[in-house]
């Protein structure tokens, strides 16, 4: 489903972000990527969603060579994956309903189907009554649930979540985690979640990949965080 082989990333400004990343994630897995700030987590996400191009090596997601996509083809590729960001990235001038519907409009789904599907995912994330609200009128946790609803609306095989709980308090974070687990279980969606919330990682145990200084330092199938004393 997701496969990185000997991936290096060096930014133009000279920052080395990733070294020789080898990674294989199968269909239906739920994987954490953890690591301190500057360890290359965000870079890895950007390589996976096509925002950055690897300096060396191959990145394959759902069988697509993401690193060699043309600029104009990147959005088309993104229809295969859902991405959730720490800062939600909702369209501020569109309502909750329109925000979710937008992801379906762009793939030319008929408006009847869109309406049905948007209600479905709004129900799934527990926001049935917020369809007409603007993102600015919602709490952070609610906005993140809208973003998740949008990300899964067209039934992507992979959901990438970049610190989805980064701006939320622990109770909200727990709610979001429960929601992601539900999506993983019910749809069989492969979920890749970047986080530095260790409490969360230890509570909801999953396969955990640790990054440090651009290297993979641990890949624990049974989960839980290994403390590195340095």
């Amino acid at each position: 489903m997701i496969e990185c082989t000997h991936v290096y990333k060096k930014y133009k400004k000279g920052v080395n972000a990733l070294f020789d990343i080898n990674l294989k994630i199968d269909q239906g897995e739920f994987v954490y990527i953890i690591g301190p700030t500057g360890s290359g987590k965000s870079t890895l996400i950007k390589l996976l969603d096509g925002e950055e191009i690897p300096t060396k090596g191959d990145v394959y997601v759902v069988g697509i060579d993401v690193g060699r996509l043309r600029h104009s083809k990147v959005p088309i590729y993104r229809r295969n994956i859902g991405v959730v960001f720490q800062d939600f990235r909702l369209l501020p001038s569109k309502t909750v309903f329109e925000n979710i519907a937008y992801a379906l409009e762009v793939i030319n789904m008929s408006s009847d189907l869109i309406r049905r599907r948007v209600r479905e995912v709004m129900n799934l994330v527990g926001l049935d009554d917020k369809g007409n609200a603007l993102p600015g009128e919602l709490s952070g946790g609610q906005q993140q649930r809208v973003a998740i609803a949008r990300a899964i609306a067209n039934r992507p095989k992979v959901l990438i979540a970049d610190e989805p709980t980064g701006n939320l308090d622990p109770a909200m974070s727990d709610e979001i985690m429960t929601l992601l687990e539900k999506i993983n279980r019910e749809y069989g969606t492969t979920i890749l979640m970047v986080t530095h919330d260790l409490a969360l990682v230890n509570k909801h145990r999953k396969r955990t990949i640790a990054l440090e200084h651009g290297h993979i330092t641990a890949d624990l199938k049974e989960g839980g965080y290994v403390q590195h004393d340095q």
Partner: protein, 301 residues
């Protein structure tokens, strides 16, 4: 299928309304520049029309020597003049015509009668009136005509005519250059304001790409919005020109200072000017938004 055509139009209008303040400020930039272009354009088209009229009214009169009045000789002279490069038309006027013309130039009946006896002993010459296609060649062509055998006298209004033609030329040329520069400046200004309205939505464009929207899908509503900005901005200038020019034409009676400087009739001229203004506004809105969106499409991969 229908939604593919309607969606960008609908979203374009929505965008215009939702970002009303920004969009309106762009429209105002369009309005101001179009007013300037409109007024200048009306001024220049009028000036260029009457300078062209003046320039074409300049002609060379050629008097034929009394000894060369035979039809065959005059045919030869006519052909020789017509053969000179830069000559647009040669009109013949017989000495009888010349005499009538001279007499009719008096308003006073007594004067006409006083000259009547000369009709049988006509002192006038047969003449050719030569129109030239390029006013600056006046002097040169006149000199060539003078060399033709049988030409008694050539008159082209002298240096003052040549100078006037040259002056008209530079007025027209200067005006055109100024108009072009002004239009370019306007387009630049408008494009910049539109860029500002779109820049405020760079994040929006990045989000659209994130959820899988094609570049063309993102671009089309913005382009429509730009065109709406242009059209809205053109409303006031078009109304101004439409009513203003007709009013101007009415109060001046159709000419300025003298008949020589007559204004262009309002119809269909106003429609043409308004059409051009509308076309400029739509085109500028379209190009401005297209370029700006493209820039922000590239902002994030």
């Amino acid at each position: 299928m229908i939604s593919r055509i309607w969606r960008p139009i609908r979203d374009g209008f929505k965008g215009f309304v939702r970002h009303g303040a920004m969009a309106l400020s762009s429209s105002v930039a369009v309005t101001i520049t179009l007013i300037i272009i409109g007024i200048f354009g009306v001024f220049m088209t009028n000036v260029s029309r009457f300078t062209e009229g003046l320039e074409q009214s300049v002609q060379i009169s050629v008097k034929v020597d009394y000894d060369y009045e035979a039809a065959s000789e005059e045919d030869r002279i006519s052909l020789a003049i017509a053969g000179i490069p830069g000559v647009r038309a040669v009109n013949y006027s017989s000495k009888a015509d010349e005499f009538e013309y001279y007499i009719n130039s008096f308003n006073d009946e007594k004067m006409k009668e006083a000259y009547a006896p000369f009709r049988d002993d006509n002192p006038m010459h047969d003449a050719f009136y030569v129109e030239v296609s390029d006013g600056t060649q006046l002097e040169n062509i006149a000199a060539q005509i003078e060399k033709i055998e049988g030409v008694e006298e050539v008159n082209f209004g002298g240096l003052s005519a040549v100078k006037m033609v040259a002056a008209m030329r530079s007025i027209r040329l200067g005006g055109t250059v100024l108009a072009l520069a002004l239009s370019l400046l306007a387009i630049f200004l408008i494009q910049n304001t539109i860029k500002l309205t779109i820049m405020a939505r760079a994040d929006e464009i990045a989000i659209m790409r994130n959820v899988g929207a094609r570049n063309s899908y993102i671009r089309s509503p913005f382009v429509i919005e730009g065109m709406i900005i242009g059209i809205v901005g053109a409303l006031i200038p078009i109304a101004m020109i439409f009513f203003g020019y007709r009013y101007l034409y009415e109060i001046t009676g159709g000419y300025v200072i003298s008949r020589m400087f007559s204004l262009i009739e309002p119809f269909p001229y106003i429609w043409q000017v308004c059409g051009v203004l509308l076309a400029i506004s739509i085109l500028v809105g379209l190009i401005g938004s297209f370029l700006s969106v493209n820039k922000y499409l590239r902002w994030k991969r």
